[in-house]
Amino acid sequence: MIAMFRAVLYSQWKWSRLIVVLGTVAAFAIPLLSLQGAARADRGALQAQELLRAVQSWGTLYPLLATALGLLMAIAAWAADHRGRHIHALTLPIERWRYVLLRFGAGFVLLAAPIAAVLIGSSLAVLTATLPPGLQAYPIALAVRFAFAVFVAYALFFAVSAGTARTAGIILGVIAAVILVHVVASIANIDLNLFGAAQTVLLLGPGPLAVFTGRWMLVDV
């Protein structure tokens, strides 16, 4: 099983190395950029409010990066199998659920690089910055949250990407139906906001997708 995992990991690395490298660079750079100027000698320590604003606005990039990485890695994980109509995978002498786990695990192992980059970048940024009194740095918490967001995004898109054209059709059909209902409701002057309701249910309610919302703060009170 280890040999199989190494083989799958290697193939997946070959397909997604550009995504991993670019994602790792971005994950390393964002925390450093978010604290740039915090230790500039000519300004002294940044005012706490100014720093928090900067950190908060840079923080919106973490969930975006996590989503993009999850999406692209999931697509890369299945692209070759889709091209070959899954014949190769289905004729390998391994239970299909094991093969899916190997593909999933390999993708997540590769995503460890950008997660580690967030941790290293955050730690370096904090070490080189002079924080105003009363503020604390949370590099480990930020990295753990980023890891969870990457995992959720990757798992979600992996499941969708593994599906057939029929599955994709069903998902698109549901979205189209929601849009159609919206259009009909607006023509009939009915106050209906399905997208808002979906956002509330999916992102704001308790559940794994809630990790993408809220403030992503490397430095906070």
Binding site: A7, Y10, K14
Partner: protein, 302 residues
């Protein structure tokens, strides 16, 4: 002799227009079994059922003594498969594909793989997507043979290839069978090719098996007869009448194509007041065409 593949009363439906119906198939262990049929006859679908890629509606499939699809992972570890269309990732090199495959097969023969890379003159650093059609086919055969399976399932492996590549591939297959005593199930519509290498043959059309027999019996038993004075109806002949039509010159002469023919059966015609003027040997291709014609006219099946 036990069967490497045993199929009983298999039924499968794909959409509204195509179905495999009541399929019975017995592939003896150690045989090179040719699976003939025109395009769209159901050969590839049958192979996908044998490999567990599709699930039958009813019926039973046993491969190497194990039930398919229940034991697909165990079975596939002993089966080398070459599909009709190369399905491998075009962005991996020949060497990377060999390494990938080797990781999944416990009986992988690295020495054989290296030997076949040399023999087929493959460059390990070439991307699969940049290989020629012949090189792709050779690599697929290499991967199937290096698994050291007891059964090879080949779906039109030489279709569209030049004669030199075809000969290389068939040569490698025959060497493998002679060394390992493996079973080969090979589908094709290239009748002459199968005639050279197979010892069993089955013919399929429109999702049904028309015939299944040892190659020699099929070849020796399929004849064209020139019959004089045959009655309109014949009862219980000891052979199968595949087709029967008047000769071009008209008169009482008829051309018959028969199956299961044996020397001495001309006496049957004397018993019904007719005579056989000529018995003509048919090669496999002629026999195959006559079998299809007979089947499509609603003729016999066995």
């Amino acid at each position: 002799m036990s069967d490497a593949i045993h199929i009983e009363r298999l039924h499968y439906r794909a959409g509204k227009n195509f179905a495999i119906k009541e399929l019975d198939l017995h592939v003896p262990s150690g045989s090179i079994y040719g699976f003939l049929g025109p395009n769209g006859s159901g050969k590839t679908t049958t192979i996908r059922l044998i490999l567990g890629l599709l699930r039958p509606l009813t019926g039973r499939i046993t491969v190497l003594g194990l039930p398919m699809p229940e034991q697909y992972a165990r079975i596939l570890g002993q089966v080398g498969y070459v599909p009709e269309q190369p399905h491998l990732d075009p962005t991996l090199t020949v060497r990377e594909l060999i390494d990938f495959q080797a990781a999944f097969y416990p009986r992988w023969d690295r020495a054989r793989a290296d030997e076949l890379v040399q023999r087929f003159e493959l460059d390990g650093e070439h991307l699969f997507g940049r290989l020629s059609k012949g090189q792709k086919a050779k690599l697929m055969i290499l991967l199937a043979l290096s698994q050291c399976g007891d059964l090879l399932v080949l779906d039109e492996p030489t279709d569209g290839l030049d004669p030199v590549v075809r000969r290389d591939i068939l040569g490698a297959l025959i060497t493998y069978v002679s060394e390992r005593g493996a079973t080969i199930f090979i589908s094709s519509h290239l009748v002459h090719e199968l005639e050279r290498v197979c010892d069993w043959v089955a013919v399929m059309d429109d999702g049904r098996l028309i015939t299944e027999a040892p190659m020699e019996r099929l070849k020796q038993g399929t004849k064209r007869l020139v019959v004089m004075g045959a009655p309109a109806e014949i009862v219980n002949p000891p052979f199968r009448v595949l087709t029967r039509e008047s000769t071009n010159g008209g008169g009482a002469g008829e051309n018959w194509v028969v199956g299961d023919w044996e020397p001495g059966m001309t006496s049957y015609f004397e018993g019904v007041g007719a005579s056989v003027r000529e018995v003509i040997d048919l090669d496999l291709e002629d026999g195959f065409v006559e079998l299809l014609r007979s089947f499509r006219k609603g003729g016999t099946r066995r």
